[in-house]
C-alpha cells in the first residue's frame, strides 16, 4: 500500500475539513506525510515517489490504527525519551537502524516499539539475551473487524532500570503467521503456543507447536479469542483426541512415569510425564491447561471496567488481591488516574497480608511434601492469625473485594487499626519463634539442600519471577523496581539467595514474610488521612497499558487495551507461575523421583484444573485417553 492510498482510505474523508476525529498533532511523521500529500496535491496528481512511510497512528473509531506498511522506512523524528529508557532504546535502535519503525512513549519509562514481524526474532534475541531484558508477557490481539490485521505484543522489562518496552508487530489478514522467537528466547514458548491456539496465528519455526491451554477435543480451526467467536459457543468435539507427548529417543530404554493430573503431592491438576532411567529423571514433558476457564474472553465480552476486578480476584485462590491490583493498576495507568493516598496505603496493606498468608501456606505445604508434618501444622496455625487479620480489615478470609478502580471499598477504622497492629505483632512474635525452630532443623536442611537447582544463567534465560529468581541470585522485585502504591515510601528489603536450590527458595520466602510483616506495621502506623475512593471519570479507548504487581509467586503482569463503552478490548493475565512452570523441566533434570514433588512444589505452583484422564491398559500396554463423553457414560 502506498501512502497515497493510505491517505485516501483513512484520512481524506475527514481531512482537511474536519480534523476532530484525528489526533495527529503528536506524530511528526504524520505531519510529514500530510505535507508530502499537500505538495503532491498542489501539483495535481498525488504520486510522489516516496518509498515508504512508517508508523502513523490515527485514532479512528476510537482504536489505535497503525499504518506502517510500505517498502522502506523514512527516518522518524524521535521523541525526547527519558534518559535511562533512551539508553535501552538507543541501543536497540543503533543495532537495528532500519528495522525499528517507530517508538512511542506510553508513559514514563514505558515505550511502545513498532517493528516488522520479520524482525521479531533478531530484535528480541538482542533485547533478551544481550541487553538482559526480562520477558514479561506476550499477547495477540484481533483487530480483523476494524483494521484487517492482528497485532502481537512482546513485553520485556528491565528491572534494574525500571523500564518496560512493548515490542509490537502487525500481522495482516490472510497471512496469519509470524516467525517464532522461541528458539532464541525460550521463555516465549508457552505464550506463542497460546497465541497459536487462541487466535490462529502460527509461529513459524516454533520447536514445540503443541496445544497448551485448550483441551485436546477442541477443534483445530476454531479460535476462541478472535472477536467473531461468541463467548458461549460450544464447538463440536473432535473425535479421538490425542496429545502428542514427547517420545523417548529410539533405541533407548526409559520408563515413563505419569505424574498427575490429579496427584496428591501437587495440589492442583497438571500432568507431568517423566522419562526416567532407574530413579533419575532424564526428561520431563508437561501438559498444562487442564482448567482453562476463558476468563479473558468473558471479561472482554460481558464485563465492564467496574466488574472485572471481582473476576480478576478469582483468577487465583491465594493471590486474589494481587490480580485485582494488577488489573486496576493497568486501568488507572491507561486513564492517567491517581488513586487517593489513603487508598494506596490500604491497598499496600492488603497486598502484604496476602503475601504473608501465601508464603506461610507454602512453608506448610512444603514441610508436608518432605514429610515434616509438624511444620505444616505450626505454619498453618500462624497463618490463621493472618487470616484473622484479613477478616478484621475486610470482613472476609479470602476474596476481599477491596481493590477496585478508583480506590478501595472499605476504610480501616481507628479501632480496627489498633486491633490489627496488635495481631501483627503477635504474628511477628510467633513466626520468629517458629522460624528459629524449623529453619535450623538439620534433617530439613539436608532434605532441601542441592535439590532442584536452577542456575542463574538458566533463570535469566527462562525469565523466572519472584522468589524463584531471587533464590537463583537475581535481585528482581517489582515493589522496588517498578514502584507502585505506597511502596516508594516504605522501608523494606527483598532477600536474595545465591544457592538456586529448594533450600534457597525456602529461605527467600521465609525472610520475605518478615519483610512483609515490617511493611504492614509501617503502613498501618503511618496511614494518611483522606478519602478512600474517587471515581474514574474517563478512560480513553485504544490505550495499551501494563500493570505490574509483585505477588507472592513473582511479578504478576496484566496487559490491557482499553475499548469502547466501558469494556476492555483485550485483557491478558500473566500469572507468575506461567513463567516459573516453564523452567521446572530444567530443575527436575537429573534428580530422583522422590524429589519431584518438592521441586515442583518449590516454585509454589498455582495451576488450575482438569477434564480428562489417561488410562494405560496393563495387558496391551496401549494408552487410551478417556474423553468427557466416556466419563459421562460411566
Amino acid at each position: 500500500m502506498l501512502y497515497t492510498e493510505v491517505l485516501h482510505d483513512l484520512i481524506h474523508p475527514t481531512w482537511p475539513n474536519g480534523t476532530t476525529s484525528l489526533h495527529y498533532s503528536h506524530y511528526p511523521i504524520f505531519r510529514q506525510l500530510v505535507s508530502m500529500y499537500d505538495r503532491d496535491f498542489a501539483r495535481g496528481v498525488p504520486k510522489c515517489k516516496v518509498q515508504a512511510i512508517g508508523g502513523i497512528e490515527i485514532l479512528r473509531d476510537g482504536l489505535s490504527t497503525f499504518i506502517n506498511s510500505v517498502d522502506t522506512i523514512i527516518p522518524n523524528e524521535w521523541y525526547e525519551l527519558n534518559e535511562i529508557t533512551m539508553d535501552i532504546i538507543t541501543k536497540i535502535r543503533s543495532k537495528f537502524p532500519d528495522n525499528v519503525i517507530k517508538v512511542t512513549e506510553l508513559r514514563e519509562k514505558t515505550h511502545l516499539m513498532e517493528i516488522k514481524k520479520a524482525d521479531l526474532p533478531q530484535i528480541l534475541d538482542y533485547a533478551h539475551n544481550s541487553l538482559g531484558g526480562h520477558f514479561m508477557t506476550m499477547t495477540g490481539t484481533d483487530y480483523i473487524e476494524s483494521l484487517d490485521h492482528f497485532i502481537i505484543d512482546y513485553v520485556l522489562g528491565w528491572y534494574e532500570e525500571g523500564v518496560l518496552v512493548v515490542f509490537r508487530a502487525r500481522i495482516r489478514k490472510g497471512d496469519e503467521n509470524f516467525p517464532s522467537v522461541t528458539q532464541y528466547v525460550p521463555c516465549a514458548d508457552w505464550y506463542e503456543r497460546e497465541v497459536k491456539e487462541s487466535l490462529g496465528l502460527n509461529p513459524i519455526g516454533h520447536p514445540n507447536p503443541r496445544k497448551l491451554l485448550l483441551s485436546d477435543e477442541w477443534p483445530e480451526d476454531i479460535y476462541p479469542l478472535r472477536k467473531n467467536f461468541k463467548h458461549d459457543t460450544r464447538p463440536p468435539y473432535k473425535a479421538e483426541p490425542r496429545y502428542p507427548f514427547e517420545a523417548p529417543e529410539n533405541g533407548k530404554m526409559f520408563n515413563i512415569i505419569p505424574f498427575g493430573p490429579y496427584h496428591f503431592a501437587i495440589h492442583e491438576p497438571i500432568y507431568f510425564r517423566f522419562l526416567t532411567n532407574g530413579e533419575r529423571i532424564v526428561n520431563t514433558d508437561l501438559r498444562a491447561g487442564f482448567n482453562y476457564r476463558g476468563l479473558e474472553k468473558i471479561a472482554e465480552t460481558r464485563l465492564t471496567y467496574e466488574t472485572i476486578p471481582f473476576m480478576a480476584e478469582r483468577v487465583c485462590g491465594i493471590c486474589g488481591s494481587v490480580h485485582a491490583e494488577a488489573y486496576t493498576q493497568a486501568l488507572e495507568k491507561a486513564a492517567k488516574f491517581e488513586a487517593p493516598e489513603r487508598a494506596k496505603w490500604i491497598r499496600t496493606v492488603m497486598l502484604e497480608i496476602e503475601r504473608v498468608h501465601s508464603h506461610l501456606l507454602w512453608l506448610g505445604v512444603a514441610s508436608h511434601m518432605v514429610g515434616f508434618d509438624s511444620g505444616l501444622m505450626q505454619f498453618w496455625r500462624v497463618r490463621d492469625k493472618d487470616m484473622f487479620l484479613a477478616e478484621l480489615l475486610t470482613g472476609n478470609r479470602k476474596l476481599y473485594g477491596m481493590i477496585v478502580p478508583g480506590g478501595v471499598r472499605r476504610d480501616i477504622r481507628a479501632d480496627k487499626k489498633e486491633k490489627a497492629l496488635k495481631l501483627v505483632s503477635e504474628i511477628h512474635e510467633e513466626y520468629e519463634e517458629l522460624l528459629r525452630a524449623t529453619l535450623n532443623l538439620g534433617t530439613l536442611k539436608k532434605r532441601l539442600k542441592d535439590v532442584g537447582c536452577l542456575r542463574k544463567e538458566d533463570a535469566k534465560k527462562y525469565s523466572v519471577m519472584g522468589p524463584v529468581a531471587r533464590a537463583s541470585g537475581i535481585s528482581i522485585d517489582s515493589r522496588r523496581d517498578y514502584p507502585y502504591e505506597a511502596y516508594p515510601h516504605l522501608d523494606f528489603e527483598s532477600p536474595v539467595e545465591p544457592g538456586g536450590d529448594v533450600l534457597a527458595r525456602t529461605i527467600v520466602r521465609a525472610h520475605d514474610v518478615l519483610q512483609s510483616i515490617k511493611i504492614i506495621e509501617q503502613a498501618l502506623e503511618s496511614l494518611p488521612d483522606g478519602p478512600v475512593h474517587t471515581p474514574l471519570d474517563y478512560i480513553p479507548p485504544g490505550v495499551t497499558s501494563v500493570g505490574l504487581v509483585e505477588g507472592p509467586r513473582g511479578t504478576d503482569v496484566h496487559y490491557i487495551i482499553t475499548g469502547k463503552e466501558d469494556t476492555v478490548y483485550r485483557w491478558r493475565v500473566r500469572a507468575p507461575t506461567y513463567a516459573n512452570l516453564q523452567a521446572t523441566p530444567l530443575m527436575l533434570e537429573g534428580y530422583t523421583l522422590a524429589d519431584a514433588s518438592i521441586i515442583i512444589g518449590s516454585i509454589d505452583p498455582c495451576i488450575s484444573c482438569a477434564e480428562r484422564v489417561l488410562v494405560v491398559d496393563a495387558n496391551s500396554g496401549k494408552e487410551r485417553i478417556l474423553s468427557s463423553k466416556d466419563l459421562l457414560k460411566r
Binding site: 464485563l303 467496574e306 466488574t307 471481582f310 473476576m311 478469582r314 509438624s374 501444622m377 505450626q378 496455625r381 490463621d384 484473622f388 477478616e391 478484621l392 475486610t394 470482613g395 472476609n396 476474596l399 473485594g401 471499598r409 472499605r410 510467633e430 519463634e433 517458629l434 528459629r436 525452630a437 524449623t438 535450623n440 532443623l441 538439620g442
Partner: protein, 178 residues
C-alpha cells in the same frame, strides 16, 4: 535435637487452635459479606443491582406487564456490589454464609412487580413503584413548573425524548420569531 525440643515446646504451649466446627460455632467476623437478601417491601424493582451484579446472579425479565427479578445464590459471589448500588437499601448483605441446600429452589429468590404503561404510546416501561419513588423524590423539585412537567414522569424514555424535542423546537422557534 535442640530445635526438635523447641518445636515440641511450641506445640505444647500454643495448644489446639482449631474449632470442632458444626458443634462449636466459629466466630463470624464483623462485616462479613455473606448472603444478600432482597426485601420485597422496600424494593422498587429498578434493576440497578441487576446491572451491577458481576456474575449475573441477579437477573431481570419483563413479561406481559410483570417484572421478575430473580436472585440465584448458587451463582452469587457475595461481593456486595448490589448493596452498594441499591437506591432504596432494599438489598442488604448479611453475615449468613451457610447456604448449602439439597433443593435448587431454596437458593432462589424471586420478586415480581407490576409494570406501568407509558401514557403516550402504551408500552410497558418501568414498575409502578419506580414511578411512585420518582414522584415522591422529585415532587419538591418540580413544584411550580406546571402539570406537564409531572406528567412527563409517566412517559417512556422514547416518548419523553420526542416530547422534549418538540418543546425545545417550539422554544427555539419562539426565540427566533422574537
Amino acid at each position: 535435637m535442640k530445635n526438635i525440643l523447641r518445636l515440641l515446646k511450641i506445640g505444647i504451649t500454643r495448644g489446639r487452635v482449631t474449632y470442632r466446627y458444626p458443634k462449636d460455632r466459629t466466630p463470624v467476623p464483623e462485616g462479613l459479606r455473606g448472603k444478600p437478601e432482597l426485601n420485597f417491601d422496600d424494593c422498587i424493582g429498578c434493576g440497578a443491582c441487576v446491572k451491577a451484579c458481576p456474575p449475573n446472579a441477579l437477573v431481570m425479565d419483563d413479561h406481559e406487564g410483570t417484572r421478575t427479578i430473580k436472585l440465584f445464590y448458587g451463582q452469587c459471589i457475595m461481593c456486595g456490589t448490589c448493596e452498594e448500588v441499591c437506591p432504596v437499601d432494599a438489598i442488604r448483605v448479611f453475615e449468613e454464609f451457610e447456604l448449602a441446600s439439597l433443593n435448587r429452589e431454596d437458593l432462589e429468590e424471586v420478586l415480581q412487580f407490576a409494570l406501568a404503561k407509558c401514557k403516550s404510546c402504551g408500552n410497558y416501561f418501568t414498575t409502578n413503584r419506580v414511578l411512585e419513588n420518582t414522584l415522591s423524590a422529585y415532587s419538591e423539585l418540580v413544584k411550580g413548573y406546571g402539570e406537564e412537567f409531572t406528567e412527563m414522569i409517566f412517559l417512556c424514555p422514547d416518548c419523553r425524548r420526542k416530547d422534549w424535542s418538540e418543546v425545545l423546537a417550539e422554544v427555539y422557534r419562539g426565540a427566533r420569531h422574537e
